[in-house]
Amino acid sequence: MIRCSQARRRILASRDARLSLAERLELDEHLQGCEACRALDLADASLDEALAALPEPPIERIDLDAAVRAVRARIDGAELERSAQHARRARLRRWVGWSVAAAAVAALAGWLILGRGGSSTASRNELVESVPPPATSPVVPGSDVELDGAPEQPSSVAQADIESDPPRATRPDANPSEIAQLSESPAVDAEPEEPPIDVERHDRARAAVREAFALAVAARAGSAEESDVLAARLQTVEAPLKDIAADGWNVSVLAERVLADADAEVAGLAARWLAQKGDRLSINKIGAVLTRPNAPAALRRQATLALLDDGEPGIAALGPALADAELRALTLERLIARGSPASVEVMAKALAETRQDGAAAADLAHALARLGEPGVDALLESVRHGGLVAESALSELRRTRGAPERLAVLLGERASARVIDARIEAAARLGLAEVLPLLRERALDRGHRNEALAQLSAFPSRGALAIVLELWSSSRFGEDELGATARSILERDPLEGLALVGELEQPMQEPTLHDLVDLLLATDSRSAAPSLARLVGSPWLPSDERQWAAVALAELGSAEEAQRLAETLRELQPEDQRLAAACALAIHALGGASALRETFGPADAPVAERLIALLERRPSDRNPAATISRAARLLEPWLESRTLARRTTP
């Protein structure tokens, strides 16, 4: 059998013929046994009749022709007004146009009279001088990445070529005939004077560069300090590389080839040497070492250190090092020590990319939190990525002193929609009270409604239920969606309902308390029971509203609420006899006969026994209203005697 609260909804829904046959039959069965719901059903039917009987507005009074004339006159009037506005605007535009033209003519005249002379010639000359001379073509016939260290070419040209798309010409292993073939291509025809590339010489230069690094590694310095060893090696390598450069080779480009060397120490030294140079292309090459599959750990470490030593340009390429468990701690320590914007950026980016790696996310979030305000901002923005990233960021934000305050300030600042979403999500997850008005606004906006209701459902602090109640009172939501939101809030913290009742128990809040009763009933959840129990005892609600709450408690409450109802019952006045009966009914439903006996105590045991006999003879769910009427009559003398006793007892 359905409960009274379900029956009540079905009664209202039945006016729209929305009930299935089974639902209708269940409702009919309930109505046969429940006088209260039957009364509500009759009243609702009466309301329907009353609505149907409302007098129609007298439309026959309307003279349609007159209405058409009136509308036409207004339209004509509005069009006239629009035309006049257009004319005013056109006049204004013309006036502005003429003013601007006059000003321009005056300025031109002034310039002709006063400023004309050598200055114009001078500026023309400056212009001519500022034009760069035509650049000679940097393209070497057949040159490509592999041959960029070739002599006769300026290094900038060589680097530009590294960025260019696929090598059109030779690989290092290309044979001279291939080179010659390319030299005859039309592109080459444009530069016939360029000399052919000597591949063998190029290979020798590459080998010499590699050898220079290898010798430097072999000439280990005596110091145990890694930095001293490195400094010594870098010094050792300088002289031979200078010689190779003096021969016209671009040593940097040739050194990049050494990054792929089988000997990790040699490759590592090349990375450190290249990082010292600090050019972007070299940095990219070093960064590529970190993403290379099967790169030896020693080389990865050296490449990481090289990038760290390089300064800001190198930091941006450290993402792969932050994803590497072996390199992360070293990298993070150095980045935190630096604390630059680039450090924050690369760490935030790495955090966003740690989708499945909980340890990496935790390390990165912790490191960001150590970077102060910029790190906190980055953590706040990371929350939008959800999952492990958000959890790690929130965990750090909770621990970081000043983070909530910072977020509260940021909530009031302008930002892009994406950043605002991230801040609101972070504030909602952290349970900041400042975000609640924003969540209310967003819930009223259809584009953000579901997200905002979900955030309210999961809001970890107090205050969300009050917002849901405001939304409920706005009548712009379906019962189910707000009922579900309130249920989630109360299931997490049943005391939030009690706190809200406490806040609302004051003058002028009665309609809001009414709405709260409805909202609590819409949750259809046991978690609403403590709040309903408090409302049963609330003197700010009318007696019949408290009765509804008491009867609902009989369905939703537990022994704890029975205790609370017993306290309420003992405080009631004789005129509240029906409310007292509803309380007794609920106490019996929740705690059985023993609970009722305890409520009345040994002194009033006969009253309790008569009530128990009544309630057990007439199960309350069959016809609660009739049971309440009988119980009320039974309780009336008891309530009067208690009231009298209270008055006479000093």
Binding site: A36, C37, L40, A67, G478, A625
Partner: protein, 199 residues
């Protein structure tokens, strides 16, 4: 306009009239006014509670509609579109009225408990009608609009939602809440709740 021309326009399908009105045919727009003015006026009368304001707002509704015909999308009924404009106007009207006059402070729940006043007699029915009309007028604006459109104008929830700018489910909830408030307010006259005590 000659009467026969007016009759000819009145016979045209609505979509044709709208198309012609968009193209600047005044007679077509007049025919649309003639066709829908009564319904819009009646709805506004129920919303704002007096004939003069309703007629004024209905005229303004058609003036606005004329100016915005270019925005009308023919996949929705023309009358629903007009209702939406009318609701906006009613909303503005309430706001300006609220500014002009102090809001009535009597709450719905403060209707005196006079269980003896049941609508068995004609006088009782008149009493109930008067109180019901007053109670409807005191409903919050959104609930009132939804109730008027659904219960008095007989619109489907889809159309109520379209006119009031909410989903059909929300429109249904609004109507249910309006009915609940009316039941609360009119309990003594409808014979409810004081009789029972459970839900």
């Amino acid at each position: 306009m000659p009467r026969n021309a007016s009759a000819m326009h009145d016979a045209l399908p609505e979509a044709t009239l709208v198309e012609r009105a968009r193209a600047g045919d005044r007679a077509a727009f007049d025919a649309l006014v003639r066709r829908h003015f009564g319904a819009i006026d009646r709805m506004l009368h129920r919303l704002v509670g007096n004939a003069e304001d309703a007629e004024d707002l209905a005229q303004e509704c058609f003036v606005r509609a004329h100016g915005a015909l270019g925005w009308y999308r023919s996949d929705a009924p023309f009358e629903a579109w007009l209702r939406r404009i009318a609701l906006h106007l009613a909303h503005d009207h309430f706001r300006s009225r609220a500014r002009r006059t102090a809001r009535q402070t009597e709450g719905l729940e403060h209707v005196p408990d006079r269980a003896e006043q049941r609508p068995e007699s004609e006088a009782g029915r008149r009493e109930l009608s008067g109180r019901l009309a007053a109670a409807i007028e005191r409903l919050p604006e959104r609930l009132r609009a939804a109730l008027v459109l659904r219960a008095l104008e007989g619109l489907e929830y889809e159309d109520v939602g379209r006119a009031t700018g909410v989903t059909p489910a929300t429109a249904r909830t609004q109507v249910m809440q309006a009915r609940k408030r009316l039941l609360r307010a009119l309990g003594p006259w409808l014979g409810t709740r004081k009789e029972g005590g459970a839900r």
